[in-house]
């Protein structure tokens, strides 16, 4: 009770005094206090015989710099408690920052190293996040209220869902294009505020003519497309319903990028007519910058679906249910549930498709919807999974970087221990010390983050250009990336100083002052060793991942496609808009094959109607005396109409007989070359050579098999062998006109792309454009997910390895310098050089080997989860693991050699005398 009273009493007194002082003013209270003091001191001195003036002077002398102390005292008294607290805190921050800046300046190499390490670690994350964000997390740019917009997708049974094959529970597939009629069926519904259709493929449209012509990616979209997405034009307007009709004068909306690139951003571009192949289009609007519709690839031209569709594809694109070319979008009414909208769309679709459903085609078909955000939709592209994995990997890289920095700071902490001890004896509080360590970490992290943004800017541009050329990125480093970078910088800055912080907190002045430089606390040394070990383990994980992806890429690259794409140039004259008739086109191809074939440095030139990985077709095929042919899962047999040089140009391997030759002309007996699979499929156990085939509408006359080829892939790196055959282009099978030129160059490293284009334009100046590109361009996109994985994984793996190596080097160099005395002692006691060298190297190897074992165990248990992303390589591939382990151990030896060498040169005398 009394205690309570006294406490209340104290509080009351303090409050009273506070009030009094507030009334009096803090400075007057201080005046009173100090005046009293001076008086007392002076009168005391007067008693010793000094004069009044002398006594006052002495009193002032004893007080010290009065102005200074008054300032100090005023500062102590100023403000409320809370404000004082904040001020002190800010002051501590300020002085903390100053002191960390000072300590960083003292070791600029260390600071630069740390900032660079952060920059690489954070930069890797920012770069990958930029990609993941665009591929996966962000809604398409410029779409308003994107969460209301859904893709409408057809879900059907896999494999065509023929009723006759039914019965078993079959796999469902989602996606695929629909016809214009399918789209129009859905317009009767009420659950969507608006529906729009757009062409699934990007078409290439020629703008301009001849050498200055450009091929531009174009999309055909219905007039409702703009409303459904809620996008606003940058300049001009978008087209309306009355402009999206077959046969009307064409209008076009161009991209901001095309507007800038080709029209110099001139607003007068509106109303300008542009030449797109066969007919002129008038530009009426420009999309906002970075708008790519709802897909990732850049689009330069937006054309009305019905106007341009009828022109490009013919009437079949607008009517009928056989021409599949559109994808559908819908904006939901705000109060509508997705399931309800799907149900209605399914009902409408099934009504429209009633006839084919009744024939047993796609009996279980329904419409499902999906978000515009790729991560939430079905049919994620392979790159997406790899990008997600890379996000994880870049986080690991940052982890390695933080560990390394923690290690460096710990080492520095030991080196500056004496200084810290002195400062603590001088009265600096632990809290203050901790704040300084934290601030220094944050300062370094933020500096690193700033550099990381630069890395993300340049590195991101590089990665996008080389690895994801098909994806348009609206801005190099987006706001979300900057936010993430800032967050990571803070987090990493703090994470890296946690261990040094613990060390600092353990200090107390006497221990610290007592500790001599030679004696490193055991726990510090151990935590640094553990950090080094973890770094090694993480490096193993990253390098193993890199190895697995590189091996997958190698395996996928080395798949025998049956033809050799290296050294092959593909040329495709654009006929639309040239005014050439069929005969002229045929003559052009003839001339082109002859001219190009005679060029120096070109081994062979050929023309063909179809091209592997680009186009293929199948026509009716019969065998005399057989009513039906056996079928393969991939369909077919597929027909290729080719000229004589085709087999050489593609480097196809003839097994028996002969290929198509120049004597196989119109009027000569029709001939065909079949591939091995087709020979075995159609004439099992018989000789295919000399057999008779009835090709297309030529049912009366035999096309004789004159050769058998090794199988070649038709359109996919991973396809099953398919039945394919080759006929002579000159023998004119129906609708098999030439559309590709294939040129094999002698030197695969220097493809004659410009030369081929020049020769073709010289042959026929009326051609608006000639596409010329390496054959690899058709195949590489299928390898992209591995290329992406292999490149970035390797980059990150090497980064982690370098960081870990520098960490190991720093650890050993530090240990050697700190244990110079011990080494000197050993040297003095007669330990030979090899012994000393081994001592240091063994420590390095022991640490690394433990890390390797841990990392390998981790890979062993977790790599099988990657199996889906790898190709033809075991996730526990022993070769990869061995190479990684050896790499790490070799790196450890290289990294520890300089410190080991330094250990040898420790002079026993100096070392012993030093203490």
């Amino acid at each position: 009770m009394t205690e309570r009273e006294s406490r209340v009493g104290a509080w009351w007194r303090r409050w009273q005094r506070g009030r009094r002082e507030r009334e009096l003013g803090a400075s007057r209270a201080l005046d009173a206090e100090l005046t009293y003091h001076m008086e007392r001191v002076a009168s005391e001195l007067e008693r010793t015989g000094l004069s009044r003036a002398q006594a006052l002077a002495e009193a002032r002398q004893r007080f010290g710099d009065e102005a200074h102390y008054r300032r100090e005292l005023a500062r102590l008294a100023s403000g409320t408690r809370w404000r004082r607290g904040l001020q002190t805190w800010l002051a501590a921050c300020g002085s903390g920052l100053r002191s960390s800046a000072r300590s960083l300046r003292r070791a600029p190499g260390l600071a630069a190293g740390i900032v660079l390490t952060y920059a690489l670690g954070i930069g890797a994350n920012a770069t990958v996040f930029g990609i993941v964000d665009r591929l996966l997390l962000s809604p398409p740019a410029h779409v308003s209220a994107a969460e209301e917009v859904r893709r409408l997708l057809v879900e059907r049974d896999a494999g065509g869902g023929d009723a006759s094959s039914g019965g078993q529970a079959s796999r469902r597939v989602v996606g695929g294009a629909v016809t214009m009629a399918d789209y129009e069926d859905l317009l009767a519904g009420t659950r969507f505020r608006g529906l729009a259709a757009y062409s699934e493929d990007r078409m290439a449209v020629t703008l301009g003519r001849g050498v200055s012509a450009e091929r531009l990616p174009a999309k055909l979209v219905t007039a409702s497309f703009w409303d459904v997405l809620g996008v606003q034009p940058r300049v001009g307007r978008f087209f309306g319903v009355d402009e999206d009709v077959a046969g009307v004068a064409g209008v076009a909306v161009i991209s901001h990028e095309l507007w800038q690139r080709t029209f110099g951003g001139d607003a007068a571009v509106i109303g300008r007519a542009i030449d797109l192949g066969d007919s002129p289009y008038t530009i009426i609007g420009v999309t906002p910058r970075g708008f790519t519709g709802v897909e990732l690839a850049p689009v330069d031209l937006w054309l009305p679906a019905r106007t341009a569709g009828a022109e490009v594809y013919g009437e079949m694109a607008l009517g009928g249910r056989n021409f599949y070319w559109l994808s559908i979008l819908g904006r939901l009414r705000p109060d509508t549930r997705v399931a309800v909208a799907e149900e209605e769309a399914t009902a409408l679709h099934r009504v429209g498709r009633a006839e084919s459903i009744s024939r047993g085609y796609d009996p279980g078909v329904r419409i499902v919807t999906a978000s515009l955000i790729a991560a939430e939709g079905p049919n994620r592209p392979a790159e997406v999974n790899v990008a997600l994995l890379l996000a994880l990997v870049s986080a690991l890289v940052l982890g390695v970087a933080c560990i390394n920095i923690a290690n460096l700071l710990l080492a520095r902490g030991i080196r500056t221990r004496r200084e810290t001890g002195i400062r603590m004896a001088l009265g600096i509080t632990r809290g203050r010390l901790a704040a300084e360590v934290l601030l220094e970490g944050v300062l370094l992290g933020v500096l690193g983050g700033a550099v990381a943004l630069l890395i993300a800017h340049w590195g991101g541009a590089f990665v996008r250009a080389t690895l994801l050329p098909q994806v348009a990125f609206p801005s190099p480093v987006g706001l979300r990336t900057v936010t993430l970078t800032a967050g990571l910088a803070l987090l990493a800055g703090i994470a890296s100083v946690l261990l040094p912080l613990r060390e600092a907190m353990r200090h107390n002045a006497s221990d610290t002052l007592r500790a001599s430089q030679g004696a490193i606390s055991l726990s510090t040394s151990r935590s640094r060793a553990v950090l080094t070990l973890v770094q090694a383990a993480l490096s193993v994980v990253l390098l193993a991942g890199a190895g697995l992806f590189v091996r997958s890429l190698q395996q996928a690259r080395s798949i025998d496609l049956g033809f050799e794409a290296s050294g092959v140039v593909i040329a495709r004259p654009v006929i639309a808009g040239s005014g050439l008739d069929d005969a002229a086109v045929a003559r052009l191809y003839d001339d082109a094959v002859r001219t190009l074939g005679a060029e120096p440095g070109i081994i062979a030139a050929a023309a063909a109607a179809n091209l592997p990985f680009a186009s293929s077709s199948a026509i009716r095929l019969g065998l005399p005396g057989r009513s039906s042919l056996p079928e393969l899962p991939g369909g077919g047999p597929y027909i290729h109409a080719v000229t004589a040089g085709y087999f050489t140009a593609m480097d196809l391997r003839l097994l028996r007989g002969r290929g198509i030759a120049s004597m196989d002309v119109a009027g000569a007996p029709p001939v065909a070359v079949v591939n091995r699979t087709m020979a075995e499929l159609l004439w099992p156990g018989e000789d295919a050579l000399g057999q008779c085939m009835l090709v297309g509408d030529r049912v009366a006359s035999c096309t004789t098999v004159i050769g058998i080829l090794e199988d070649a892939h038709r359109q996919d790196i991973f396809e099953q062998a398919e039945a394919q055959y080759y006929v002579a282009l000159a023998q004119g099978h129906m609708e098999m006109g030439p559309s590709w030129l294939i040129v094999r160059a002698a030197d695969a490293a220097a493809l004659p792309i410009g030369r081929v284009r020049d020769r073709l334009l010289a042959l026929e100046p009326r051609l608006p454009f000639v596409s010329v590109f390496p054959m690899h361009q058709l195949i590489d996109p299928q390898l992209r997910s591995w290329t992406l994985g292999a490149t970035l994984f390797s980059l990150f793996g090497v980064l982690a390895l370098l960081v870990a190596a520098s960490g190991l080097h720093a650890l050993l160099a530090f240990d050697v310098s700190q244990s110079a005395r011990e080494i000197g002692l050993r040297a003095a006691l007669g330990a030979g050089r090899p012994r000393l060298l081994a001592m240091v190297l063994l420590r390095a190897l022991r640490l690394t080997a433990t890390g390797v074992v841990l990392g390998t165990l981790f890979v062993w248990f977790f790599a099988p989860r990657l199996a889906g992303m790898l190709y033809a390589v075991s996730p526990r591939d022993p070769l990869t693991l061995i190479v990684v382990a050896v790499t790490l151990l070799l790196t450890a030896i290289v990294a520890s050699w300089p410190p080991a060498w330094r250990a040898l040169r420790v002079d026993p005398n100096l070392a012993l005398r030093a203490d």
Partner: protein, 115 residues
């Protein structure tokens, strides 16, 4: 004539001395200054300004409480007094300081013995 400073004082130590000066009971600043000077026999010179700064600082930390009162010569003076947490602090500081001093002495003392 100003005497030469014989020992410079560390901040933490000054606070300790001030706390110790208040251990026996409430004192005004002048009293604290005199007490310190007498106890150290002038071996440690402390500027009075530093002493007041220390008093105010300790007050802000809640280790010392102050009150205006009437002094022995009948003038108004500000009296300082240890709070409960101030007493605890004093005890802790004394222990830490003793250990520190012993540690330093064990080093310094042995060196003297060796030379």
């Amino acid at each position: 004539m100003r005497r030469k400073t014989e020992l410079t004082l560390l901040q933490g130590t000054l606070d300790l001395l001030v706390l110790k000066a208040l251990e026996v009971g409430a004192q005004h600043g002048y009293g604290v200054a005199r007490w310190v000077r007498e106890r150290t026999s002038g071996a440690i010179e402390i500027e009075d300004g530093a002493l007041y700064t220390s008093l105010h600082r300790l007050e802000r930390r809640g280790w010392v409480d102050s009150e205006w009162g009437v002094s022995e010569n009948n003038r108004r003076a500000k009296y300082y007094e240890l709070t409960r947490s101030g007493r605890r602090r004093l005890a802790a500081e004394v222990t830490a300081w003793t250990r520190y001093a012993e540690a330093v002495f064990s080093v310094v003392g042995s060196n003297e013995a060796a030379s």
